[in-house]
């Protein structure tokens, strides 16, 4: 691979160059250079690993953000909501029919949950067609665990599943329910039921 024959130069320079080449081939690289280079490689590779997973990091951040937002919303909701106090559960004593719906909802005898401070009811809630009370759906929570209020609109026929007798199971219509749901996702009580009024023209 040597280039063209060298230009004519002093013989001693040629000899010295050959000796220098032989001398240079005996030069050894200090071992600390090798160690430093491979350490740099290891550092570079260890820093590459997080760079290869930005998607995972982003997903984790998004998940943490969602969880934080859910926690904040839950805390804010709990502050707005009157803290339920469990009292002795009472059995469903009797049922009375709702005015506009051909069904019955339980009459409240002894409150299972008492809110403090009592929430101011709106005019609509104070309407006589609104039935407010507690229907025990599942075993009450006696250890003071948190409850969540879940509002749902269900068909009248679905109330049969709650053990509420409905005179006409085939009747049409819906009811807005406010249910207290435990942390386990099981509905503990129905504390409020509002029949949904339809504006269908009467014939």
């Amino acid at each position: 691979m040597t280039a063209d024959p060298r230009d004519s130069g002093p013989a001693d320079l040629e000899r010295a160059l050959r000796a220098l080449v032989a001398d240079e081939r005996r030069v050894r690289v200090p071992p600390h250079v090798h160690a430093a280079v491979m350490q740099a490689w290891d550092r570079a590779m260890s820093s590459v690993t997080p760079r290869r997973a930005p998607r995972r990091v982003r997903l984790a951040v998004v998940a943490a953000t969602i969880a934080s937002a859910a926690l904040i919303i839950t805390v804010a909701f709990d502050r707005r909501r009157p803290e339920p106090t469990l009292v002795d559960p009472a059995p469903i004593a009797s049922m009375e029919p709702l005015p506009s719906a051909n069904m019955t909802l339980p009459e409240i005898e002894a409150p299972v949950v008492r809110s403090k401070p009592p929430r101011r009811r709106s005019r609509a809630e104070r309407a006589p067609r609104t039935t407010t009370g507690i229907v025990l759906v599942a075993d009450p929570i006696l250890d003071g665990s948190a409850l969540s209020v879940v509002r749902v609109r269900v068909p009248l026929s679905a109330l049969i599943n709650f053990g509420i007798p409905v005179p006409d199971p085939d009747a049409q219509g819906s009811v807005d329910l406010e249910m207290l749901v435990g942390e386990d996702g099981i509905a503990r009580t129905i504390r409020r039921a509002v029949p949904v009024t339809t504006s269908e023209p009467q014939e």
Partner: protein, 204 residues
């Protein structure tokens, strides 16, 4: 340039594996080319310490820019020579490090030379003078002399490493050899005068 045995993986294969994160492949590249890089930097700078740093920087640059290396354009050795040349020049320029001829590397301790102590001394002094003369060359001549005369690169390989036309390499090499011969002779004359002066002082 280091010879690659048939049983060893080719440079392109090592590069491909190193790109995939194979530590052994990168270490294989290092073991194959670290010596030529180190010797080139040592001869260019005249300083083993600078050669240490340059060698590290060259291989760190390689691991950083490994994806930019194109095997079809140049051999890995040529590529590394080019990186080493740039790193060395940048290092010397940055530090404004002017070569101190008194601290030029003296070579290896186990240099092969004459067995006669007098001849060995002269041989060693010749090497020292030659190293000093090479280090004192302007960098554009020094690098071609090192690549072509000490590292046995062809004109084309040196041109590829330096990013210069082959004709430029040829002319610089010619000029560099002439300068080197002049300085080597001048250093020899200085040494002769120094020896004569020392003898005269001893006889006085």
């Amino acid at each position: 340039m280091p010879a690659v045995e048939a049983t060893e993986p080719a440079d392109a294969e090592l590069v491909r594996r190193a790109l995939a994160g194979d530590r052994d492949a990168f270490e294989g590249i290092y073991r194959r080319y670290h010596a030529v890089v180190y010797r080139f930097a040592r001869m260019m700078s005249g300083s083993p310490a600078v050669a240490d740093d340059v060698t590290q920087e060259v291989f760190m640059a390689l691991m950083r820019d490994l994806g930019r290396y194109e095997p079809q354009r140049a051999g890995l050795a040529t590529y590394l020579y080019g990186v080493a040349r740039n790193v060395t020049r940048a290092r010397l320029r940055k530090e404004q490090r002017f070569v101190n001829l008194e601290e030029a590397p003296a070579g290896t301790s186990d240099s092969v030379g004459p067995t006669d102590p007098t001849e060995a001394l002269a041989h060693s002094q010749d090497l020292i003078r030659l190293r000093q003369a090479i280090v004192a060359l302007p960098s554009r001549y020094r690098e071609v002399v090192i690549l072509c005369d000490l590292h046995d690169l062809s004109y084309a390989e040196a041109a590829a490493a330096l990013g210069s036309p082959v004709g430029t390499v040829r002319s610089r090499l010619h000029r560099g050899r002439n300068l080197l011969a002049e300085r080597f002779r001048a250093a020899d004359g200085d040494r002769s005068r120094s020896v004569v002066g020392s003898v005269a002082r001893c006889l006085a």
